[in-house]
Symmetry: none
Subunit: 423 residues, 2 copies
């Protein structure tokens, strides 16, 4: 992953503080701050410092005290649980020198939530009903701990829950509108191009001569498991200027990349495919071996996918390829389970068995080992059977990482199907 | 996610400070601190705070000043480049109130490095030859910027380069041996218990009376999509003492939780199940609707799972439940696709169709919407068909988040299967 182009200074600065000793272990990364940084930047607010602080009241209070003095926006996430180690409420109260007040209506709401799950609220959860004096309560529609919005003469302090889905929902619905009211208007728009079928360095080499000529929009190139994104973020005084700038730079990148761009509105491949299948009144079935359900999982992750996605076969054992998809035993014996022939027969069999318009098959060796008779680790065959014909695609990834080979294979299968579905 | 039982104070604490405005964008994460945390923990040094600070001399100096007062080990990474924006050297000098001294031999070494790449050293690179008064120079064998090791009466401050391969090499070769000399020898071991089938707060209420009585081992509770972990980290002078302590505390937690602990060696559910199936020479097939392949994906993520995992059916469309699994159309009409009866028939059908020893089915409504005729969002039925009988389990999650309902459902299905498989 690499980032190109930096964001320019603005009128308002922010610090983000993540709380919790579990965030200070060798395998945990604070991702909430990435989401929050993106959202703040979109409003023209710069993040100038981030902190992760363990469960220590004094240390956290001191960090908050300094942040409140230094910047206009302070966001604190986590440490709102019911236990003694959840220190955020106490530390904010200490830092701002305010009292905490018990709100019975919050306690009742938490109790209700437990009751709906047929459980009794543990006594300690009452702690979560303590609110800093003068704070606005931010309701939590995804969990028990409410958030708090506190205004000081110098700026605003937000307390948000740590679990990412709770934090995102609360920030988007309740904090963004409040922040937007106190920020000077700036028209910021991001153009997201999504690209498949080329490497990150090829992509960067192709487009960097274009984007390097511009400070505005800021350009970022992201890569994840074979899926590439180019983000162009433009900020001007008016929407008209912003859109004109994006059209100017985006148009040049578009011309350089052509059909390797599969999405110009941030939609992932599975959504793009879903839209095409819906428009074409077509249906899809998948038959997977190496990816073990990962392709079906991705296709069905799209809300409403039941309109076109019939389902799939996970034929992990060779016997199931024969029993469920009708791949001849002899064919597997002759060519191997990881072969052009098997991929083709899997796709044809899945399509015939379900009467779907399209069938996509994946067979491969994701590793970590091979028994020597099989195709080498990283080998993948993808079959696509459609109304007119069946095609098979072949690829060998040098990666010996099982998870990555599986993710790359699913991505390539979706990319190939998308190309077959046309524009 | 919340952590219970903070890490207890040790003889030595550390803070890690990453420097650079480029680390404060929405898509960049500081990974150096993860490496450093692991290495420090191995020496018995706790990391109690992490910071990411932009290119601002005053803000960085203030953060360093506070860290030096609060802990014994301060590691600062990045900001050692040759430009005006590389503020680390100046900020450390300000924070410690020491002068910087130009070292011509460093300047010469950098000039040599450029010459070997057939380039001329730009004048600004001379900045990289500035060294804090009294610091030991840490040679950089992977790049131009040398590091610095500074001892204060209160502890030690390390300045390391930002690029991960430079930092790792310098820390491992030059800082670790120095740190080891000043640290008392300590045997550190972690016991990981994994738990399913209870909520995080129930878990904490059950075990906190036990772990709260101990500062050593330090206890952390982690929760992710219905999967819970308890980490007990013990530190004693000898391995024998450490293991005895873990046995003492772990034994009490074990007794309190009983069969809700599914793993005592950090293995996830899918690995535990895989081991049992292998031992019992049994095979598994899955039949999924709501989870759309996610259950199969998890089972097959285990290397070597082909020994017991035959495969699965993703019967997203009702028609496929009938065609592939033999669920009677009338049954679906009468009870609905999301029902006890359908889950049962899916499991029985999958087992019969593949002759697997065990079949697990999931049908549910993961949302985001329901058409009113269906079961409400969050409703999940899980069927388990085995050699003796078939059981169906039912759960409604309040979460309206599609991804989470799917993850919870897969977790619960694996948990139920694991219980059926016995010890």
């Amino acid at each position: 992953m690499s980032a190109s182009g930096a964001i320019r200074p603005s009128e308002m600065n922010a610090e983000i503080i993540a709380v919790g000793s579990e965030m200070l272990t060798p395998d945990r990364v604070d991702t909430n701050s990435l989401f929050l940084t993106g959202e703040l930047n979109n409003l023209g607010i710069e993040v100038v410092a981030k902190h992760v602080i363990g469960d220590d009241r004094e240390r956290l209070a001191e960090t908050i005290r300094r942040a409140v003095k230094a910047v206009e926006v302070v966001i604190i996430s986590g440490g709102l649980g019911p236990t003694e180690d959840d220190v955020t409420r106490d530390s904010v109260a200490m830092a701002l020198d305010r009292r905490q007040i018990f709100h019975p209506e919050i306690s009742d709401a938490i109790e209700d939530r437990f009751r709906r799950m047929n459980r009794v609220m543990p006594e300690i959860n009452k702690r979560q009903a303590m609110v800093i004096q003068g704070a606005h309560i931010l309701a939590n529609d995804r969990g028990t701990a409410p958030g708090q919005w506190i205004e000081e003469h110098s700026g605003v302090i937000m307390i948000l829950p740590g679990p990412p889905h709770e934090l995102k929902s609360m920030f988007t619905r309740q904090c963004l509108p409040r922040l937007a009211r106190i920020m000077p208007p700036l028209a910021i728009r991001t153009l997201v191009l999504r690209i498949s079928g080329m490497s990150e360095s090829d992509l960067d080499q192709t487009i960097s001569p274009i984007y390097k000529r511009y400070e505005n929009p800021a350009t970022t190139v992201l890569a994840h498991n074979g899926d590439l994104q180019v983000h162009l973020r433009a900020r001007c005084a008016t929407e008209g200027e912003t859109m004109a700038l994006l059209a100017e730079v985006g148009g040049q990148i578009d011309a350089a990349l052509g059909d390797r761009i599969y999405s110009r509105n941030a939609d992932p491949l599975e959504v793009v495919i879903g839209r095409k299948l819906t428009e074409q009144k077509a249906t899809l079935v998948v038959a997977e071996s190496a990816t073990g359900g990962g392709l079906a999982e991705r296709v069905s992750s799209v809300p409403g996918s039941s309109a076109y996605f019939l389902g799939g076969f996970v034929t992990y054992a060779s016997r199931l390829k024969t029993d469920l998809l009708g791949v001849p035993e002899d064919l597997i014996k002759q060519f191997g389970a990881v072969s052009h022939e098997t991929a083709e027969a899997m796709a044809i069999g899945a399509r015939r068995r379900t009467a779907a318009t399209w069938a996509v098959s994946i067979t491969g060796n994701a590793g970590p080992t091979t028994d020597g008779k099989e195709a080498p680790v990283g080998t993948v065959y993808i079959g696509i059977a459609g109304p007119r014909d069946t095609n098979v695609y072949h690829r060998v990834w040098p990666a010996s990482d099982r998870t990555r080979v599986r993710a790359f294979a699913a991505q390539m299968a979706l990319d190939m199907l998308n190309r077959k579905l046309g524009v």
